[in-house]
C-alpha cells in the first residue's frame, strides 16, 4: 500500500476551500439574526426583489454578541436582528452598534419602542398574554400578572424557563413597576404555583394545559396564530382562552423584536435601506400577516386572529427601562430557584 502525502494533503486543502464560502462582491447586506430564518427570510426575499440587494443571514440562538465582539472591526455583519429587547440592549451596551437618525422612522416606529439614542429600533411588538384552560378556568378568574402569584393557583401554572428572555423581560417590568422586593415576592409566589419544573418553549406550555398537566400558562401572543397553522397543534390552541393581562391598570407587558446597525457595518447604506423597508408599510404588513406579530407602525392591518382579539391596552413602559432591569431579573430567577 503506497501512501502518498501529496494526495492526502491536496484532498484536505481542497475540501477546506470548497467549504469556505467565497467572497461575493455584489451589493449585499449581512445580517446576524436571533430570529429564525423562516420568520424573516420572506421579508428579505421581498426586499431583494424590490431593490436587487442580496441579504445574507446567519442565525444563531446564542453567541452572537461574543462573535461580534471578537470579530471587532472586521466583522462582516451590518445588521443584528433580535427577538426581544434583551439582546438589543446588550449589543448596544457592548458598544457594538451605531446610531441611525431616528427622524427617518418618525411615523413608523413609536418612541417607546426605540432606543433614545437611536441605536436600536423595534420592528414588531409581542404581548405576553395569559392563556387558561377553557374547561377548568372560568373567564375572569384570572386577570393580571399579579394574580399568577395568588396561592389559589398552586400547582396549576406552567411557564417556560424563568431565565428565558421573554420571562426575564416580564420580571424586569415587574421590577420596574413594583420595585425589587415586590417583584421578588411575586416571582417566588409564581414559582410555588408551578405545576412542573419549567421545560420546553411557550407552545409546550399550552400543550401541557391541553393535556391537563396545568390550567394556566404564559405565552407570547403570536404562538396562538402559529399553533393554529399546524394541524397537530390546533387542539392545543383551541383548548385555551386568551387574556390580555392588566387591562384595568397599566396594560399588558410588551416586548419588541428589533434591529440594530452594527458599529463597523461594511454595507451601511444598503443596510439602512433594509431597515427602511422593514419599518415601512410593506415590511410591517408582512410581519403582521406572516408571523402574527403586532406591527409597530400604526395603521397597518392586523391578521384575522388579532382582529378577533381586538384592541388592548399596552403597558407604556419604555423598553429601555425594561432593559435596565434585566440583569437583576435574571439573578432573581436564580435566587428564587425558579428553574429547580
Amino acid at each position: 500500500m503506497k501512501y502518498s502525502y501529496s494526495i492526502l494533503r491536496s484532498l484536505i486543502i481542497s475540501s477546506l476551500l470548497v467549504a469556505t464560502p467565497l467572497l461575493v462582491s455584489a451589493a449585499e447586506v449581512n445580517v446576524y439574526s436571533y430570529r429564525k430564518p423562516q420568520l424573516i427570510d420572506p421579508m428579505f426575499a421581498a426586499f431583494t426583489e424590490q431593490t436587487g440587494i442580496k441579504v445574507n443571514s446567519v442565525f444563531a440562538k446564542k453567541g452572537m454578541l461574543e462573535r461580534l465582539q471578537s470579530e471587532g472591526a472586521n466583522s462582516p455583519a451590518d445588521l443584528v436582528f433580535t427577538v426581544d429587547i434583551g439582546r438589543l440592549s446588550d449589543i448596544k451596551n457592548a458598544g457594538l452598534t451605531q446610531s441611525v437618525d431616528s427622524a427617518r422612522f418618525a411615523g413608523h416606529i413609536p418612541k417607546n419602542y426605540q432606543d433614545p439614542q437611536g441605536h436600536w429600533f423595534g420592528l414588531t411588538t409581542r404581548a405576553r398574554i395569559i392563556v387558561a384552560s377553557k374547561e377548568r378556568v372560568k373567564i375572569g378568574e384570572i386577570l393580571s400578572y399579579e394574580d399568577l402569584a395568588d396561592p389559589k393557583w398552586k400547582d396549576r401554572i406552567c411557564t417556560r424557563s424563568g431565565k428565558h428572555p421573554y420571562m426575564v423581560a416580564l420580571t424586569a417590568s415587574m421590577i420596574a413597576h413594583h420595585g425589587a422586593a415586590g417583584a421578588k415576592v411575586w416571582l417566588a409566589g409564581l414559582k410555588s404555583n408551578l405545576a412542573r419544573k419549567p421545560k420546553g418553549n411557550d407552545r409546550a406550555q399550552v400543550k401541557a394545559v391541553k393535556e391537563g398537566e396545568c390550567d394556566v400558562a404564559v405565552i407570547n401572543h403570536y404562538y396562538m396564530a402559529n399553533m393554529l397553522k399546524d394541524p397537530e397543534q390546533v387542539p392545543w390552541a383551541e383548548s385555551v382562552n386568551v387574556l390580555f393581562p392588566n387591562q384595568s391598570d397599566r396594560g399588558t407587558h410588551m416586548n419588541v423584536s428589533g434591529v440594530a446597525l452594527t458599529k463597523h457595518a461594511p454595507n451601511r447604506a444598503d443596510a439602512i435601506k433594509l431597515m427602511d423597508f422593514l419599518a415601512g408599510s410593506q415590511g410591517q404588513q408582512m410581519y403582521a400577516q406572516k408571523n402574527g406579530e403586532y406591527p409597530v407602525k400604526s395603521g397597518v392591518a392586523w391578521n384575522e386572529l388579532q382582529k378577533s382579539w381586538g384592541k388592548f391596552k399596552e403597558d407604556s413602559l419604555s423598553l429601555a427601562a425594561i432593559a435596565d432591569n434585566r440583569a437583576a431579573a435574571i439573578r432573581m430567577a436564580d435566587e428564587v430557584g425558579y428553574n429547580n
Binding site: M1, Y3, L8, L11, I12, S15, L16, V18, A19, T20, P21, L23, N30, K36, N56, S57, V58, F59, A60, K61, K62, G63, L65, E66, R67, S70, E71, G72, A73, N74, S75, P76, D90, S161, K163, R196, K197, P198, K199, G200, N201, R203, A204, K207, A208, E211, G212, E213, E232, A327, I330, R331, D334, E335, G337, N339, N340
Partner: protein, 571 residues
C-alpha cells in the same frame, strides 16, 4: 560475492550527523501540536481568572450547587448504567453460547450511531402525553387527562440517565468485549478445572483482568455525559454544561461561564487520569505469530439462554430499534416539510466537515503517538496528556476558547497587513470552516490518540529497530511498517471521530460561518422549538450516516471470529 561487494561499495553509509544533536522534528512537531490543542483550554482558564463582577459569588450562592449536583447524579447514574449493560452483554456474548449470540455480538454496537439528544427527542415523542404509549394507556383504562394517572416524566434527570445510558454503553461493551477475548485461555481453563463455575470465574478471573479496559470505557462514557448539551437542555436538567451556556450567554458573563468551565476541568482531569492509568495496565505486547485459540465457553440451556437473549436484546431494542422506528414514522409523516434543498445542503456539509476532521485528527494523532514511541520521555508523555484534554471540554467552552484567540489573530493580522501593505485580510480563521474543523480536531483528538496509541503498543519495539537497521528513517518506518499493522486501529479511529463529528452540536452552533448549517444544528433548532416532527428526518439521517462506521466495525467483529491465524495482520 563480487556483485555484493560492489554493492557495498556503491552504497556507502548515508550521511550522518557529527556535531551536536540533530534537530528532532518529531518531538518539536508533537509539542507544537499539543500546544495548539491546549490553546482553547488555556484561553478558557485565562478568561476565568479575569474578574467577573460578583457573578461567581452569585453563582455559588444560587445555582452552582444545583449544577454540580445534577452533573454528579447524572454521571453516577450513567456510569452505573453503562457498566452494567456493557459488561454483562460483553461477557454473555464472548463467554456464553446461546442462539443468536453471533448476531448480538455486532448488533449491540448499534446504539452508538444515535446521539444522546436524538434518542431524547425520539423517546419524548414516544412517551409523552400525546404519544402512542400514553395514548394506549388512556384508551385501555379510560383516563382523560394527565391528572388521572401517574406516568414517569421522561424529561427529567431519571429520563436523561436512562437514555444516555442506552446510547453510551457501547463504549464499555466494545472495550470489555475485546478484553474478554484477549484473556489468557490457560488461566480460564485452570479456573474451570479447579471447579469454579461461570459466575465465580467471571468475578474472580475475567472481571479483574478486564478491569482496565472497562474503566477506560466508563471514563469515555462519562466524558460524553459531561459534554452533552442537547439532551440536558431539552430535558431541563441543569448540569454544569447547561449552566455554563446559561451564564455565558443568558447572563452575558463570559468570565462566569469560563469559571464554571474551569470547575468542570477538575472533573475532566480526574476522568482522564483514571483512563490513562487503566490504559497503562492494559499494555500487552502481541507476539507476531500468535495462534487463534477458542475460549472455553458456557453453553446455556433453555431458561438461561432465554434470559441471555433478553439481556442482549433489550439494549438493542431500547437503544436503537425503538428510536429508529419512532423517528422513521415521524420522518415519513413530515417528509415533505423536511426534505428541502436546504436539508440536502446541510447533509453534505455535515459529511464533508466530519470526514475532513476525522482524517485530520488521525494524522495529528499518528504524529504525536509515533513521536512518543520514538523518543519517549516525560515531556512528550505530558504533552500527549495535554493534547487529550480537549476531548472532555464541553463544545460550547471549546468554542469560546477558539473563537476569541482566532478572532484576535485575524484582527491582528489584518491590522498588520493594513499598516504594511494596505490590504485587508479580513477574517481568515474565525467565522470560517477552519474554526469548526479546529474545534472538532481538538475535541476528538483523544479518541484518535487512544486508538492509535493502543494499536501501536501492540507492535513490538524490535520491529522498529529492525526497520531502522534496514535503512528506514523514522517517518518511513511509520508509513511502511507501523501503519499497515495498525490499520485496524486507524480505521476505528477515523470511524469514531467521524461519527462524533456528525453528532457534535454546541461548538458547531457557535463557530459555524454564514449560512452554514449541519444536520446536528438543524435538528437541534427544530427540536428545541418542540417541532419534533420536522426534526425527525434530520435525526434519522444522522443515525443512518452514523451507522456506516458502526456497520464496518460490526463486520470486522463478525469476521475476526472466523479467521484463524495472525490477528495482527488480517482484518
Amino acid at each position: 560475492m563480487a556483485t555484493g561487494l560492489s554493492h557495498a561499495l556503491k552504497h556507502l553509509p548515508r550521511q550522518g550527523h557529527q556535531s551536536g544533536s540533530p534537530p528532532d522534528w518529531w518531538t518539536a512537531g508533537a509539542l507544537v501540536l499539543a500546544a495548539l490543542a491546549l490553546m482553547p483550554v488555556a484561553a478558557v482558564v485565562f478568561f476565568a481568572v479575569d474578574s467577573s463582577g460578583d457573578i461567581w459569588g452569585h453563582l455559588v450562592r444560587t445555582s452552582l450547587p444545583g449544577y454540580v449536583g445534577n452533573t454528579l447524579w447524572l454521571m453516577l447514574g450513567v456510569g452505573c448504567s453503562v457498566f452494567l449493560t456493557g459488561v454483562s452483554t460483553a461477557w454473555l456474548v464472548t463467554m456464553c453460547r446461546f442462539p443468536g449470540r453471533r448476531i448480538f455480538e455486532w448488533l449491540l454496537l448499534f446504539p452508538l450511531a444515535i446521539p444522546a439528544y436524538v434518542i431524547a427527542y425520539a423517546y419524548t415523542d414516544f412517551l409523552e402525553y400525546a404519544g402512542p404509549v400514553q395514548g394506549l394507556l388512556r384508551a385501555l383504562f379510560g383516563w382523560h387527562s394527565a391528572r388521572d394517572y401517574f406516568f414517569p416524566e421522561i424529561r427529567s434527570l431519571g429520563g436523561a440517565i436512562t437514555l444516555m445510558g442506552l446510547v453510551l454503553y457501547p463504549y464499555v461493551y466494545l472495550l470489555a468485549r475485546s478484553a474478554f477475548l484477549e484473556q489468557s485461555v490457560n488461566v480460564l481453563e485452570v479456573s474451570r478445572v479447579l471447579g469454579r463455575g461461570p459466575w465465580r470465574t467471571f468475578t474472580t478471573v475475567s472481571l479483574p483482568a478486564a478491569r482496565p479496559a472497562i474503566v477506560v470505557g466508563v471514563s469515555l462514557a462519562l466524558m460524553e455525559t459531561l459534554n452533552d448539551y442537547g439532551t440536558v437542555d431539552f430535558f431541563a436538567v441543569y448540569t454544569m454544561t447547561a449552566g455554563l451556556v446559561d451564564v455565558w450567554l443568558g447572563m452575558g458573563s463570559l468570565a462566569g461561564g469560563a469559571q464554571i468551565a474551569t470547575t468542570m476541568l477538575a472533573f475532566v482531569i480526574l476522568l482522564i487520569t483514571l483512563e490513562r492509568i487503566s490504559r497503562r495496565h492494559q499494555k500487552v505486547y502481541q507476539q507476531s505469530s500468535s495462534r487463534f485459540r477458542a475460549l472455553p465457553a458456557y453453553y446455556l440451556g433453555g431458561f438461561r439462554s432465554a434470559l441471555a437473549i433478553m439481556a442482549c436484546a433489550l439494549p438493542v431494542l431500547g437503544g436503537f430499534v425503538v428510536p429508529v422506528l419512532v423517528l422513521g414514522r415521524l420522518a415519513i409523516v413530515y417528509f415533505e416539510r423536511s426534505w428541502t434543498p436546504a436539508f440536502q445542503t446541510y447533509t453534505l456539509n455535515s459529511l464533508l466537515l466530519s470526514a475532513s476532521a476525522a482524517l485530520l485528527a488521525l494524522l495529528v494523532a499518528l504524529f504525536i503517538a509515533y513521536s512518543r514511541r520514538l523518543n519517549g520521555g516525560r515531556v512528550l508523555g505530558f504533552a500527549t496528556r495535554i493534547a487529550a484534554l480537549g476531548y472532555a471540554v464541553p463544545g460550547a467552552v471549546l468554542a469560546v476558547g477558539i473563537l476569541v484567540p482566532f478572532a484576535a489573530f485575524d484582527n491582528a493580522l489584518d491590522a498588520l497587513l493594513r499598516r504594511t501593505v494596505g490590504i485587508s485580510s479580513g477574517l481568515l480563521l474565525s467565522g470560517t470552516v477552519v474554526a469548526v474543523l479546529f474545534a472538532y480536531v481538538v475535541r476528538f483528538l483523544a479518541v484518535a490518540l487512544g486508538q492509535v496509541e493502543s494499536s501501536l503498543e501492540k507492535v513490538s519495539p524490535s520491529m522498529d529497530m529492525a526497520a531502522r537497521t534496514l535503512g528506514y528513517r523514522a517517518g518511513q518506518t511509520l508509513l511502511r511498517y507501523h501503519v499497515p499493522l495498525i490499520r485496524g486501529g486507524m480505521l476505528t479511529a477515523v470511524m469514531i471521530v467521524f461519527v462524533d463529528c456528525m453528532k457534535e452540536l454546541p461548538a458547531t452552533l457557535l463557530l459555524r460561518p454564514f449560512n452554514f448549517e449541519t444536520l446536528a444544528t438543524h435538528v437541534y433548532q427544530f427540536a428545541s422549538d418542540e417541532m419534533l416532527g420536522e426534526a425527525a428526518l434530520g435525526s434519522l439521517t444522522i443515525v443512518v450516516v452514523g451507522l456506516i462506521p458502526v456497520l464496518v466495525l460490526s463486520r470486522m467483529i463478525a469476521r475476526s471470529r472466523l479467521t484463524s491465524g495472525n490477528p495482527a495482520g488480517q482484518g
